[in-house]
């Protein structure tokens, strides 16, 4: 694995291998010294053009637990504020010769561009409405720990699917692992033709009881340039997962951050069925496994070391 750009690039066996690796990193987390020297001397750069708590903190901690050196750049407060382009920013970071660049960006395909510009292994930590593969891996990991194999399990993905990269990546990953997926939300928030990805689509929570797992999505108000829902209250009336709708045997997941009282009621967030805290804990070990897979398990030695300079970004000058 040279990059992790999309969950679709991974087979079931490759996903299993990463999750098995994550299990052994979970053991490292139970030691007195929760750190291993695996990536000593390597540099990991994180580049976040969008707000993030979980993804950025877990990638950063994962890099540190593996003894890598870490440079983290957030768009706000960096030269991006002064108008530096993505390409120039990547060229700047590349001067530190990072082994991995972790990037989140509001535009789909940004991670692929960075992969083309840089020699580093690139991890897509979310690109617009496109993909969020590390989230899908950690969610499969969380579910696998709770209920074993996903084969034949029924998972409902509920909410703002249209704006959700998590929905897309998770749909692909859950399907690859053999689960049966139903996507549910108001028609305006379900992309047309979604059935082609191999899932059922419904616009009502009436049959929610058949689900083994309910995966709620955040209503992404920051991506909505027009009104997709009449009002938050109306949305909540029809699509909120609350104690009435969630059965006692169903597991609840959410990628966070939660709009309390919109897609989830407070009682279910804090209920024992909620795996939200487990998802965050899984994020750390799964991201350690991703970094390990990219840097330690791969054949780094055969990667083009320098002869590839033609494809590197040429300096574009014009200091701000």
């Amino acid at each position: 694995m040279k990059h992790l750009l999309s969950i679709a690039q991974l087979s079931q066996a490759e996903i299993e291998a990463i999750l098995d690796r994550a299990e052994s990193f979970a053991e490292v987390g139970r030691r007195d010294i929760k750190k291993v020297p695996t990536l000593r001397g390597r540099t990991v750069a994180t580049l976040f053009y969008e707000a993030s708590t979980r993804t950025s903190s877990s990638f950063e901690l994962a890099a540190k637990r593996l003894s890598a050196d870490l440079v983290s750049v957030k768009a706000a407060g960096s030269s991006v504020d002064k108008g530096e382009s993505l390409k120039d920013t990547v060229a700047t970071l590349s001067a530190y010769e990072p082994a991995v660049i972790v990037i989140r960006h509001p535009h789909a395909g940004a991670a692929q561009l960075v992969a083309d510009w840089s020699d580093a292994a690139v991890v897509n930590a979310g690109d617009g409405k496109h993909e969020h593969p590390s989230q899908a891996l950690l969610d499969v990991y969380t579910l696998r720990r709770q209920m074993g194999a996903l084969e034949g399990k029924r998972i409902w993905i509920v909410g703002d699917v249209l704006h959700s990269r998590v929905a897309r990546s998770n749909l692909i990953a859950f399907r690859e692992m053999g689960a049966e997926i139903t996507v549910c939300g108001p028609p305006a928030l379900i992309p047309r033709g979604l059935e082609q990805l191999g899932c059922a689509v419904t616009h009502s929570l009436d049959d929610l009881g058949e689900a083994d797992v309910v995966y709620a999505l955040r209503l992404q108000r920051e991506r909505m340039r027009e009104s997709f829902v009449p009002s938050l209250r109306e949305y909540a009336t029809h699509f909120q997962i609350d104690g009435r709708r969630l059965g006692p045997r169903q597991l609840l997941m959410h990628p966070g951050p939660v709009n309390r009282g919109v897609e989830l009621s407070a009682e279910v967030i804090d209920s024992p069925q909620s795996l939200i805290a487990e998802q965050v804990a899984s994020g750390l070990v799964v991201r350690m496994a991703i970094l390990y897979e990219l840097l330690a398990a791969g054949d780094e030695g055969s990667a083009p070391a320098s002869g590839d300079d033609a494809s590197r970004p040429t300096p574009i000058g014009q200091p701000a």
Binding site: S24, A26, D32, T38, L295, A296, G301
Partner: protein
């Protein structure tokens, strides 16, 4: 493909019994003794030594196993297919103040043992670390010396030492295969 048996079934078992006696002799207080095997075959040998030591001393010693993949100094140097399978380590007891006997099947360059000592220290600070190996084949690249040796095997670097254990390979034996097979 020529293989010479250097330790047959009974020899291997006798050798382990002797190592167990030596461990018990050198560590008269079993209360502070612990056994840790290095994956994969070292962990199996550790289980056997643990049983033998229970017979000898009457004490149930703490036992654990270590996977050293995260501590290797050759990560990335191998192709993915050659990468070892990573097992989780299991050390569920406090090693602080203990005498820990590390167990491995073959001692060669010493790099695995170096990595195992590093890994062990992430669990706490043992009072003393000893090393028991079934075979010492020489060619050390680090200043590491075993405390207990089953058999010294003078080998060339081209030869291969194969340790087979019933739990994993269906037979108990140690063999040396001559040089690397070329094609045939």
């Amino acid at each position: 493909m020529s293989e010479t048996v250097v330790l047959a079934h009974d020899d291997l078992r006798r050798t382990l019994r002797r190592i167990a006696h030596e461990i018990a002799e050198k560590n008269p207080d079993p209360g502070s003794l612990a056994i840790v095997g290095i994956h994969t075959r070292g962990a199996l040998l550790a289980r056997r030594l643990h049983a033998l030591l229970a017979e000898l001393t009457g004490a149930e010693l703490p036992i654990g196993d270590l996977d050293i993949s995260f501590y290797r100094d050759d990560l990335g140097a191998k192709s993915p297919a050659d990468q070892p399978v990573v097992h989780a380590s299991h050390i569920d007891f406090d090693i602080a103040g203990q005498t820990v006997v590390l167990i491995d099947d073959v001692l060669y360059t010493g790099r695995t043992v170096r990595a195992a000592i590093d890994a062990l220290f992430d669990y706490g600070r043992p009072q003393r670390v000893q090393l028991a190996v079934l075979c010492d084949r020489g060619h050390r690249e680090l200043p590491i010396r075993p405390d207990y040796v089953g058999k010294n095997l003078p080998t060339s670097r081209e030869q291969r030492v194969n340790v087979r254990l019933e739990e994993l390979d269906g037979a108990d034996e140690v063999t040396i295969s001559a040089a690397v097979e070329v094609g045939a």
